[in-house]
């Protein structure tokens, strides 16, 4: 019963049918970051198939789901055309909503949050404000200087704008963000 629900749930939320995976391992073989993952992509597929609560908890707490770069190699090569990156998006959002984000992935989540925050404010991304927002969120990570040293080079090459570009229809734009970014902090 448990297993069926899990597969149906993923199918309903993403349209992806994981039941079709027969463990050929091609996704893992072609994944550029598989060797850094705690659970390989093909293992994630198998775990969703068996789908016990413990396995789901392990998936949502894994580093893997955040390491996935959405390079789309696994999906393109899958003999059953299973859209694994789309499942990863779903798992990431579930992990975030349940507060199960892997400690190693906190910087990745912080970056994405800063990105959306910056976009929400102006309608377009300001790379300067993204960097500032992200550096504040990830102060403890000790990488403050790494990107700050790039700033002078970017400014001299005309690549960093001090004043963010803004769109005109901010009201219509903010409607898209309504009730969307209120997930808990990782």
């Amino acid at each position: 019963m448990e297993t069926k629900n899990r597969l149906v749930e993923v199918k309903e939320r993403t349209g992806v049918n994981i039941r079709e995976c027969y463990q050929c391992g091609k996704c893992t073989a072609g994944c550029p970051v598989a060797e850094k993952m705690d659970l390989r992509p093909s293992v994630i597929m198998r775990m969703i198939q068996s789908g016990t609560d413990e396995e789901m908890d392990q998936i949502l707490r894994s580093y893997t789901i955040w390491l996935c770069l959405t390079c789309e190699t696994c999906y393109s090569r899958c003999p059953m055309e299973i859209d694994i990156p789309k499942v990863m998006d779903y798992l990431r959002q579930l992990s975030l909503a349940k507060g199960k984000v892997h400690p190693e992935a906190r910087k990745i989540v912080a970056f994405h949050k800063s990105f959306l925050n910056t976009v929400k404010r102006n309608g377009r991304l300001s790379e300067l404000f993204l960097t500032i927002d992200y550096k504040i969120r990830s102060l403890r990570s000790g990488t403050l200087l790494q990107d700050m040293t790039l700033a002078p080079g970017m400014i001299s090459r005309g690549k960093l704008h001090l004043i963010p570009k803004q769109i005109k229809d901010k009201k219509g734009f903010s409607r898209l963000f309504k009730n969307q970014l209120n997930q808990r902090k990782p």
Binding site: L69, S76, I108, A110, H112, L125, L150, D169, L176, Q180
Partner: protein, 285 residues
Amino acid sequence: MKIGFYPGCSLTGSSREYNESILAISKKAGIKLVEIPDWSCCGATAAHNLNRELSVSLPARNLALAESDGIEELVVPCAACFNRLTMTQHELNEDENLKSRITEKLQMPLKNNLKILNVLQYLEKYFVPRLEELIKKPFEEEEVACYYGCLLVRPSQVVKADRWEDPMNMDAIMRKLGAKPIDWSFKTECCGAGFSMSKTEIVGELSGKIVRDAANRGAKAIVVACPMCHSNLDMRRPAINSYLKTKVEVPVMYVTQAIALAMGVSAKEAGFQRHFVPVNLSVNR
């Protein structure tokens, strides 16, 4: 036909030279690109990682704006924006409920039948047939490594690129410009994409392998068609060099910059001064 243009955020900032070179070659070829009025961010990796609704609604806003401006064909040079806009169009066409929910939010109609072109498709359609006439200053058989990255060719089910495991369309363009595209192994490997700031060491490693293979096989330059690929291979060169434990000097340029040079656009107008790793080929000297 009205050809629309969606620059995306990177092209207004860290990838200005991509924007400049596209506009320069289009102007020179007499093609008018109309920027989508009041366009906004596509949401990029952040939106599809964190929020499914935004990952569709943000691109959809731009598709709707383009339509209402009478645009029939839309040029999207950033590979990531191209991917998000194309995936959104695909998803909305597959799912009527999603489409009506999103258009209600947008408060804009959406026929969703825009023809979306990535930069290679744009070049193939509007430049390749006329290249002989447009080229003023061909390359002098310099070896180049054509690097396609991920999102111009994948997911193959949606993008439907020709030979997606070993694409040749950029190679064909570079050959027509007089350069010598090399055979190499990292054409469509991932550069590390959105980890540029959050996991720079991974970008150093993945991009490092790409740059190393290109350099080992004698490439004088790597040619790209994506702002993320460019900034990871060029601006993140310190991380690459620290992974490779050596200093690799092979420069990275946009395919549109290469065309610009061959068309006689000045190196400055094509934005070559904005690179971190200097490009030093006979054509831009």
